[in-house]
Subunit: 343 residues, 2 copies
Amino acid sequence: MRQPEVSISDIARIAGVSHTTVSRALRESPLISTETRERIQRLAGELGYTPNAIARSLQTKQTSTVGLVVTSIADPFFSDIVKGVEAVARASDFSVLLSASYNDPEQTLDIIETFHRRRVDGILVASSRISDNYGRRLHHTHIPTVLINSQVEGQANLLHWISVDDRRGAQMAVEHLLQLGHRAIGYLGSHSRPASNSQRHQGYLDALRAAGVEPLPSWVVTPPGDEASQEEDISAGQQALAPFLAAGVTAVFCYNDMIAIGMLASCHAKGVRVPQDLSVIGFDDITIASCVTPPLTTIHQPRVELGRLATQVMLDLLQDRPGADHTLCPTLVQRASTAPLST
Amino acid sequence: MRQPEVSISDIARIAGVSHTTVSRALRESPLISTETRERIQRLAGELGYTPNAIARSLQTKQTSTVGLVVTSIADPFFSDIVKGVEAVARASDFSVLLSASYNDPEQTLDIIETFHRRRVDGILVASSRISDNYGRRLHHTHIPTVLINSQVEGQANLLHWISVDDRRGAQMAVEHLLQLGHRAIGYLGSHSRPASNSQRHQGYLDALRAAGVEPLPSWVVTPPGDEASQEEDISAGQQALAPFLAAGVTAVFCYNDMIAIGMLASCHAKGVRVPQDLSVIGFDDITIASCVTPPLTTIHQPRVELGRLATQVMLDLLQDRPGADHTLCPTLVQRASTAPLST
């Protein structure tokens, strides 16, 4: 019968130290005292510990680091993606280097250049502004790249994508409002995320037209702004209330939760009751969405899962396994900001 | 008369390209085509461009990268710190590598080890959990380190700190409530940030005692939890409402805004009117604070400034200039969640 393999956890238990300490001692970390290092290494030898072959081969050939570009640190949408990336990376002893592009395509390229100089093994991009030109440049770096919620043209063996179906999510939001009896439904878009905004706008149109409703031009509002920041979103939501009321809509589907929260604040300030006078639905399901007044109905994106999957595809690519592209489906979360049309 | 120096901006204007393109061409970036690179370099030569000596010397001796550790990407408190750090770093052509410790001291050490392996020039730590032992280990790395809102023992020439005066901020919050006529004032603390929680608790006691009020033990609530996550904060705020109402307080000073927002949500769900039945004040002044119902009165921390100053101190250290420690003063932001005690 084959002896079960000795793991780092076994060594840690027997030595009475943490998993991390054993891991550090075995890879000669300067953060562990010489005495501890030697004790752990001796014990590992006595127990017949053999390091995981894949991990070892990866570590000798590579730097065990992935670079992650996000649009903004401040955007709560990205924090869960980062969490998912870090969980999978950590489990494979990879480190994550994170940088924010602030929705600036030039800064995104600067960051990728820095990652390149730091010799990361792979790059994950969760950035809203990507052009095809950018895809070609990414390809220049010869580093496996996985795009999160973005798609560009590129060579398939090095460039992959994981995304949530924006168009389907928008359809679900509008179908929910239609089921509540609303017909005059507005869409409050985002100028600073043109790709996903276009998908969500299309899903909005799909759902309305499937229900036989032809939206008026005044039902779609896209405030200016290029920052894709929390402040910009909140302000967009606040300022769009008046045009929607003038257009006579009874419900508004907002591009994201932060924009919807700006609209809720403006409703509160102007005495517009939500959901009695106006139904409001967001997109993303950020943590704060359940805590605002009234709690926000929204479309949940599996953000942690997006980050996890993207990192898994990256690790597959690094081990010369074929990477796969994935589209995840969002779900409706009903809370208190939407209600049946009052007659 | 001395000729004014030719800058990168001058070259960019004359060549009709962006500042970034010139900068990349001059440092032989692979992201610029050979043709453009040669054209820019020729033009720079013709115009007599001399690169900034300090920047050049830094760049040849060093990697022009700083590592930044934050407790959590999700915590909106940190996003503005990151913004301040990146602004100053970018202006000096430094890149920022960012990692999240998730309030885990072991993971913080892992991150610093990774930064060390990546040969960053300096490390900025904005992480809530720091021990003196940790300070000694930081020192092992021989890399200049600046702590943001944290203090540890260490050798002064490599270890510096920038912080906001937590104790004074807490005093200001409680003085505001006292001025509104409140006497039975609660403090809702954070178990997962022991250092700053202790300072804010102390400031709370200072202000009450200066007003001749001796707080009852039941006025101070510190919910369990070690994550320092948004979810944990919101839940802490929601669950603490009942004990505060039982203790008979008329106002609550919360450790941070996210906890206060959790409490507002619970008040709304339970029919407790804010501020008529209960005044609530937070700490941080995160972006969302002005958008909740009612808009939150809070203590503003100059977060962008914290990040800027910390990075400036780091750059000073890297140029062998003495670094200085700084304590910044917070300010009161009055909104609608606090009101005079109704009699």
